[in-house]
C-alpha cells in the first residue's frame, strides 16, 4: 500500500514544484497576508484628529481642553472660532471628534450645576467612534474628579483624605499593551491553512479530471483510499509548512509571544487539517472544472472566514449565526491558536476545542471518502 502512495505523493509534490505560480500562492501570498494583518489590521484608536471650540474661555475650560492633548489618544488638529466652523471640520472629514464648551461652563461648575460639554463624533466608523467616546468620557470624568478634589482641598482640607472613592485597576491579561497585532497574527495561521489546503486538495483531484488523467490513474492497481491519501498528504504537509512559516515570522519579526506548548499546536493543526482536507475532497467530488472548484471553495471559505471569529467576535453575532459557527472548524482552531500563543494554556483547557475539531474532521473525512468512491465509479 505504501509502495503505491509514496509515488503519488512524490508526483504531487513534483507537480507543485513545476508550477511556476505555486511559490506565489504558497509563500508570497502567505507573507503578504501576514504583513497586512501585522501592520494594517488594527482596531486600535490613537491620535484621533480632534477639533475644539472654547466658547467659555475660562481657566476651567482651557484646563479641560488641554487634557485632550498629550495623551496619545487625541490630537487637537484645529481650533474653531464658531460652531459653523466646527461643524465644517467634521463634515469635511478633517476632524473625527469635535469638542465644544459652551459659555457659562466654569460658572456652572462653581455652582455645582450640571455643566454640559458637547461632543460631536463622525461615527461613519462606528467602532472608532465608540472607542473614542469612551476616551472622551474618561478624560471628562478625570477632570471632574480632580476639580472636586481641588475644591475640597481648599474648603475642607482635613476631610479630603476621607472622601470615599472607588477606582478600577484593570489588568489586561495576555496582551497587556492591547496590540491588535497579537490578536491577528495567530489568526492568520488558521485562515491561511484553511484557504491553501482546501484549494490545494480540491484542485489536485479536479485537475486530473479536467485534463483526463483521472482515468489513467484509475486503471492502475491503486485503490481509492490510497489515491485519496496520496492526494491529501501533500496538502497536509504544505499546511504544516504554512503553520511553521507564519509562526516563525510572527514570533521573530512581529514579536508576538508564543507561550504555550508547540506540541499542542501541532496536534490541533493536524486535527484542523483533517477537516480542511475533507472539505477539499468534498468540493472535488462536486466540481468538474478548476474554475468551478475555485468558485465553490469561495462559497465555503467566505462564511468560514467571517463566522470563525477571525476579526469579529462571535459573541456579538445574532444567535442564528452563532449556532452556525459551531460547525466551523476554524472557530475552534482560532481559540487554540490564540490560547497557545498568548495565554499559554494546554490541553487541560483546550480539550473541548480539540474534541470538536476531531469530531468535525472525522465526519468530513468519512462523508468525503464515501462520496468520493461513488464519484469514481
Amino acid at each position: 500500500m505504501l509502495g503505491r502512495i509514496v509515488p503519488l505523493v512524490v508526483k504531487e509534490l513534483l507537480q507543485l514544484r513545476r508550477d511556476r505560480y505555486a511559490i506565489v500562492r504558497l509563500v508570497v501570498l502567505a507573507l503578504v497576508q501576514l504583513l497586512m494583518f501585522g501592520y494594517a489590521a488594527t482596531f486600535e484608536v490613537h491620535r484621533v484628529s480632534t477639533a475644539v471650540l472654547d466658547r467659555d474661555r475660562s481657566q476651567e475650560s482651557r484646563e479641560l481642553l488641554s487634557r485632550f492633548t498629550g495623551n496619545g489618544r487625541f490630537e487637537v488638529t484645529a481650533v474653531a472660532r464658531d460652531g459653523a466652523e466646527l461643524a465644517d471640520l467634521v463634515e469635511s472629514g478633517r476632524a473625527t471628534v469635535a469638542v465644544q464648551i459652551h459659555p457659562g461652563f466654569a460658572e456652572r461648575l462653581r455652582k455645582g450645576d450640571t455643566a454640559p460639554v458637547q461632543v460631536i463624533v463622525d461615527s461613519t466608523n462606528s467602532n472608532t467612534a465608540l472607542v473614542a467616546l469612551g476616551y472622551v468620557n474618561r478624560i471628562v470624568n478625570a477632570f471632574a474628579e480632580d476639580y472636586g478634589t481641588d475644591r475640597l482641598a481648599r474648603t475642607a482640607p482635613a476631610r479630603l483624605r476621607l472622601v470615599p472613592r472607588v477606582e478600577l485597576a484593570a489588568r489586561p491579561w495576555y496582551n497587556p499593551s492591547l496590540e491588535s497585532r497579537w490578536f491577528f497574527v495567530p489568526g492568520v495561521i488558521g485562515s491561511l491553512m484553511l484557504v491553501i489546503t482546501v484549494n490545494l486538495t480540491s484542485f489536485a483531484v479536479v485537475r486530473e479530471r479536467e485534463i483526463g488523467t483521472l482515468e489513467q490513474i484509475m486503471v492502475t492497481p491503486i485503490r481509492p483510499v490510497e489515491f485519496i491519501l496520496g492526494k491529501t498528504l501533500p496538502s497536509f504537509l504544505v499546511g504544516l509548512g504554512e503553520m511553521a512559516l507564519i509562526t516563525l515570522v510572527g514570533t521573530l519579526w512581529f514579536r508576538v509571544p508564543f507561550r504555550g506548548d508547540p506540541l499542542v499546536l501541532l496536534l490541533a493543526s493536524a486535527l484542523f487539517l483533517t477537516s480542511t482536507l475533507g472539505m477539499g475532497l468534498l468540493i472535488s467530488t462536486v466540481c468538474k472544472t478548476q474554475q468551478q472548484a475555485f468558485a465553490s471553495s469561495f462559497f465555503v471559505l467566505m462564511p468560514a472566514f467571517v463566522l470563525s471569529g477571525f476579526s469579529f467576535p462571535i459573541a456579538s453575532m445574532p444567535p442564528v449565526l452563532q449556532w452556525i459557527t459551531y460547525a466551523i472548524p476554524l472557530r475552534y482552531f482560532l481559540v487554540v491558536l490564540r490560547s497557545t500563543f498568548l495565554k499559554g494554556v494546554g490541553l487541560g483547557v483546550l480539550w473541548p476545542q480539540m474534541l470538536a475539531m476531531a469530531a468535525i474532521g472525522a465526519t468530513m473525512v468519512t462523508v468525503s471518502v464515501l462520496r468520493f468512491r461513488k464519484a469514481l465509479d
Partner: protein, 379 residues
C-alpha cells in the same frame, strides 16, 4: 474599431457565461451571501460580556457594586466564584471576559474613607473587545463611586457640590447616529463584492481561451485586440452593475442602511470602479495563461488590498506611515470613501471631487495598460 465585431465578441462571451450557469449563479448569489454574512456577522460591538466575580468581602456594599455590573447592558454577571484560582481558570478558558476581584476589606476601607481599588482581570486576547470592556467597566465603577461619595457628603453635612462636579457629555454621533457596525460595513461590501466578482470572472476570460486552445482561432479572425478586450469585458461590466444594484438594494431594503446621497454619484463612481477592476483582471488574464494562476493572482491583487487597505474595516489613519502611503495606490480606497460618503453623509459630486478624480485617472491608466498588454500574437 468595428462596432459589429465588438458586439460579436461580447455575444460570444455572453454565451460562455450562459452556458456555465454555475458561474452566473455565483455572480448573483455571491453578493447576497456576502451582504448577509457581513451585514449580520461583522460587528465589533461588545455587549453581554461574561463577568466572573470573586467577592472576598461579601458585604452589602460589594453586592451593590456587583449588581451594577449585572444591570449594565454591557455585562452579564455569570457567576461568583469562591477562589482566585477559579477566577483565573475562567479567564484562561475564555469563559470570562472580565474577572472582578473585590478585596476582603472593601466595605470597611470604603467606610473609613479614601480610595479603594477594585481589580479587574480582562481577557485581552481580543484587544478591541478588551478595550471596550475596560471603558464600560470604568464607567460602571465611576458611577458607583460617585454615588458613594454623594452619600458620604450628605452624611458629613457637606453640600453635594463639594463632590466632583457633574459634567454631562452631550454626544452627537453624526452620520451613523446609533453607532451601528452595519451602517459602517455594508457600504463597503459593495466594493468587496465587485472586486471579487470582477477579478474572478474577468481574470479567466483570456486564460480560458489559452487553456482550451481557442486562442489560435480567435487570432486568425480579423478582430483587433481592442475589440476583443471591450467585447469580452462588456458582459462582465453589466454583471458587475447588476451586482452593485443588488448589494445596494439589499443594504437599503433589508438592513435599513441609510442612503443619503444621489444615485447618480453612486453610478458614476461604480462604473469607474468596475472599469478599473475589470481592466486589472483582464491584464492579469493576459499575463498569466493559466486559469488557476490567473484567478489566484487576481485575488491577491484585488481582494486583499480592498479588504485590508481601503478603509473597509480597518481605519487607514491608524496604520503606520508606510502602509498609509501604500493605501493611496489602492484604487478601492477612493471608491470606499465615495461609498461611505454617499450612503451615510449624503455628499454630492462636488464634495467628492478628489476621490472621483483619482478614480478617473485610475480608469484611464488601467484602460490604456489593458489595451497595450493584449497583443494578438501566439508566442
Amino acid at each position: 474599431m468595428s462596432w459589429r465585431r465588438t458586439v460579436a465578441i461580447a455575444r460570444k462571451e455572453l454565451i460562455h457565461v450562459r452556458r456555465d450557469p454555475r458561474s452566473l449563479l455565483i455572480a448573483l448569489l455571491l453578493p447576497i451571501m456576502q451582504m448577509i454574512l457581513l451585514g449580520y456577522g461583522a460587528t465589533l460591538d461588545a455587549k453581554h460580556l461574561a463577568v466572573y466575580a470573586f467577592d472576598r468581602d461579601g458585604s452589602q456594599t460589594s453586592q451593590a457594586l456587583l449588581k451594577r455590573f449585572q444591570a449594565s447592558p454591557y455585562f452579564d454577571l455569570v457567576r461568583t466564584v469562591e477562589g482566585y484560582a477559579d477566577l483565573t481558570a475562567a479567564v484562561d478558558a475564555g469563559r470570562a471576559k472580565l474577572g472582578l476581584v473585590v478585596s476582603p476589606d472593601f466595605s470597611r476601607r470604603l467606610a473609613e474613607g479614601g480610595t479603594v481599588t477594585v481589580q479587574a482581570i480582562v481577557d485581552a486576547t481580543d484587544d478591541n473587545t478588551a478595550n471596550l470592556a475596560m471603558g464600560y467597566a470604568e464607567a460602571v465603577i465611576g458611577g458607583f463611586s460617585q454615588d458613594v461619595q454623594l452619600a458620604w457628603l450628605r452624611r458629613q453635612g457637606l453640600p453635594d457640590r463639594a463632590a466632583a462636579p457633574p459634567i454631562s457629555v452631550e454626544t452627537r454621533t453624526w452620520y451613523n447616529e446609533d453607532l451601528e457596525s452595519r451602517n459602517f460595513i455594508v457600504p463597503g461590501v459593495v466594493a468587496l463584492v465587485m472586486a471579487l466578482v470582477g477579478a474572478l470572472l474577468s481574470s479567466l476570460t483570456i486564460a480560458r481561451e489559452w487553456e482550451r486552445g481557442t486562442m489560435e482561432q480567435l487570432v486568425s479572425t480579423p478582430v483587433t485586440a481592442r475589440e476583443i478586450m471591450i467585447g469580452k469585458l462588456v458582459p462582465y461590466f453589466v454583471i458587475g452593475l447588476v451586482d452593485a444594484a443588488l448589494c445596494v438594494g439589499f443594504g437599503i431594503g433589508w438592513f435599513g442602511v441609510p442612503f443619503r446621497g444621489t444615485v447618480g454619484t453612486l453610478l458614476v463612481a461604480t462604473a469607474l470602479y468596475l472599469v478599473v477592476v475589470l481592466g486589472i483582471g483582464f491584464v492579469i488574464s493576459v499575463a498569466i495563461p493559466n486559469q488557476l494562476g490567473a484567478s489566484s493572482i487576481a485575488i491577491l491583487v484585488t481582494l486583499l488590498p480592498t479588504n485590508m487597505l481601503s478603509g473597509f474595516a480597518f481605519p487607514i489613519d491608524q496604520m503606520p506611515a508606510p502602509i498609509r502611503a501604500v493605501s493611496y495606490v489602492v484604487w478601492a480606497r477612493y471608491y470606499l470613501t465615495i461609498l461611505k460618503a454617499v450612503f451615510l453623509k449624503g455628499s454630492g459630486l462636488a464634495a467628492l471631487g478628489g476621490p472621483l478624480l483619482a478614480m478617473v485617472a485610475y480608469a484611464a491608466v488601467v484602460g490604456t495598460v489593458a489595451t497595450r498588454a493584449f497583443r494578438k500574437t501566439l508566442d
